[in-house]
Amino acid sequence: MQVQRLKAIGLPLAIALLTVVYAFGVLNIRSQFDEGLVGPQFLPTVLVLLSLAMCAVIALRDIRKLDTSSEPAQQADADTRALQLRTAGLFVAIVAFIATFKPLGYAASTTAFSWVVLWLFSFGVGQPALRAAVAVAVSAAGYALFALAFGAHIPLGPEAF
């Protein structure tokens, strides 16, 4: 039950924390001239109050829902857990792609990233050559679209930055 409660209020709590960080930013706004009450700080202050109020409403409502619910807590089965892990893996792959884009350049980072996404979506299971070929094709298609068709500068290797 405690875990479920935490899950229910986790997101509103995280948003409330972000709002507090944002609220510190409100304190640092310095006006260049006086506009009265409704200056550069006014709307952000209203937004902070609204955000905190809504976070509280949502969190309290979700906790109350849990308390009144007669349904037993559902445990994630193995398949769901695997999908959750894959989703986390996808985000890690995105972060890794962004981190390696400059050091490796487009060709290597995009091909590797495509390969990982294909693997995460279970494409080419037991056919590594096919998966690799499709990863190269996706990367090449991306280059053709952005660099050749639309004339954008795509650094193929690290030296091209």
Binding site: A14, L43, T87, F121, A141
Partner: protein, 509 residues
């Protein structure tokens, strides 16, 4: 040159081979994205947004309009064939369309969906074209105080539309507005929320927000749901059962639906399109509910009614024309796709407003023509020529599809500004939007809050500086008073009244 002349020139511009390629290409892309469950035309326009940096504004807008129209129509393909709406706006189509499919009239249902879309889309586009000069005149009557009240009204509608969870809609709208306040203040040259970093002084661009919220978050959602889609065999079977000649609706069936049936649904769709943030799903739902009220014993909606398919599709495509009006006149998007089209306009230095029709009609007229041509010609042509092929295409392996989308999304956010920082921002927004979506928060409100937040603040502060800080200016000016009253009516009709009804029915049980 007056607007009518710009429209004539627009026709010739659209027919130029280069622009025509964007029109047809956009329509095919939109059809593909609209028909694949999980992908939407919003995603297609979001992915193509970075490319608008490297092409002219006219072909970019032509392409956006055709994607919009195609995406709205093509959700009906899988809605009818396998009961999985390709786009949320085709949910109502699935109710009757798939029943017809099971009775062996799948091709006929697709034909009615296309005809409904064609009529709705055409009426919506014609109304947009015909009423645009008048809308521009009306816009001139709305001054700063009225603009504030109008933006406020838009935000209220955006929140109220999420009937299931208004607090969550308020929160995501507020979050979007908070993101928009980062950077230089709207009235004074002072930076806000930069926390000592130079990059945040410039503010947050629309691009990473759109790519993150609509593309990367979608990938994560698809991954979590296992990327479920129709099986290849299921789609091949559906394609085999289609005969091209059955795709053309019979005249007797069209007569049974009636001219008024098509017209009413199209006008409903157009009217709903005028409301900010409402979108095609609501248009289809309202038109369907209206048709249900007048159903005949021999034509029960929900039991495989051709009328159900036709009105749903006429309404959601009719919405396309309506959604452009508030976006072009006030910068208030009618739905997520027009929100991104607004991004294309802003990127190219086109400011929404009454002057748009006077000074930049040469740029928007081809977009209107594209919307009209897409509805009039491309919907029926695509269905007749490529219908069975599209049914097969949507069974493309998910891995290839999502790998391509991931590369396009991330590279798109890079090429727009040649900045790895933008990619990182897109990833952060993507993760944030993923968690929001998992918990049932409406992320469209986040984007609309992000777009409308700066306008709300600007008009509020300008109004109060004009009145020396006196807030009664909003009540003494007719334009703002009108929108305040309208907001009150909407709050009553969409917020208080349903709540009272719910309370009453709970008390009765």
């Amino acid at each position: 040159m007056d607007f009518a002349n710009h429209l004539i020139v627009g026709v010739f511009q659209v027919l130029e081979p280069y622009n025509l390629a964007f029109l047809i290409g956009g329509f095919l892309i939109g059809t593909f994205f609209g028909s694949v469950p999980g992908l939407t035309s919003v995603l297609a326009v979001a992915l193509l947004l970075p490319m608008t940096y490297s092409i002219d504004v006219v072909p970019a807008l032509i392409m956006c309009a055709s994607i919009f129209m195609a995406g709205m129509y093509s959700g009906s393909i899988t809605a009818v064939t396998i009961n999985i709406p390709g786009a949320p706006s085709s949910m109502m189509t699935a109710l009757d369309g798939n029943k017809l499919m099971r009775k062996g009239h799948g091709a006929n249902a697709l034909g009615h969906a296309a005809l409904g879309s064609m009529i709705g889309g055409t009426i919506g586009a014609l109304l947009l074209i015909a009423l645009m000069p008048m809308a521009a005149e009306l816009t001139l009557l709305i001054r700063t105080t009225g603009k504030f009240a109008l933006v406020m009204f838009a935000l209220i509608v955006i929140v109220l539309v999420q009937r299931e969870d208004v607090p969550k809609a308020v929160l995501t709208t507020v979050l979007g507005m908070m993101i928009a306040t980062i950077g230089i203040d709207v009235m004074q040259p002072v930076p806000r929320f930069h926390y000592g970093t130079g990059t945040l002084v410039e503010g947050i661009d629309m691009m990473p927000v759109i790519i993150g919220v609509f593309a990367l978050a979608e990938l994560m959602v698809q991954m979590r749901t296992g990327g479920d889609g129709p099986s290849g065999e299921e789609m091949r079977r559906a394609a085999r059962s289609m005969k091209r000649r059955d795709l053309v609706p019979k005249l007797a069936e069209v007569r049974q639906i009636g001219l008024w049936g098509y017209l009413k649904a199209s006008l409903t769709g157009y009217g709903i399109g005028l409301l900010p943030g409402v979108g095609g799903s609501m248009a289809a739902f309202v038109a369907y509910a209206d048709a249900k009220r007048s159903e005949r014993p021999d034509d029960i909606l929900g039991e495989g009614s051709r009328r159900g398919v036709a009105v749903s599709e006429a309404a959601n495509n009719g919405m396309c024309g309506g959604a452009f009006v508030p976006m072009l006149m006030f910068g208030i998007p009618g739905d997520p796709t027009t929100a991104i089209v607004l991004g294309v306009l802003v990127i190219n230095g086109i400011q929404p407003g009454a002057k748009l029709v006077e000074t930049q009609a040469d740029m928007i007229a081809p977009m209107f023509i594209s919307l009209l041509f897409s509805a009039m010609f491309l919907i029926p042509l695509t269905l007749y020529l490529l219908g069975p092929l599209f049914i097969r295409i949507v069974s493309i392996p998910r891995g290839i599809l999502y790998a391509g989308i991931a590369v396009m999304a991330l590279m798109g956010s890079y090429v727009a500004t040649i900045s790895v920082f933008q990619m990182a921002l897109a990833a952060i927004f993507g993760l944030f939007a993923y968690f929001l979506r998992r918990q049932g928060y409406p992320v469209v409100s986040l984007l609309l809050g992000f777009i409308l937040g700066p306008d709300l603040e600007l008009y509020l502060r300008r109004s109060l500086s004009l009145s020396d800080g006196d807030p009664t200016i909003f009540l003494t000016n007719m334009d703002s008073l009108f929108f305040i009253i309208l907001s009150g009516i909407f709050i009553y009709l969409m917020g208080i009244l349903p709540w009272l009804k719910k309370k009453k029915s709970l008390a009765q049980t």
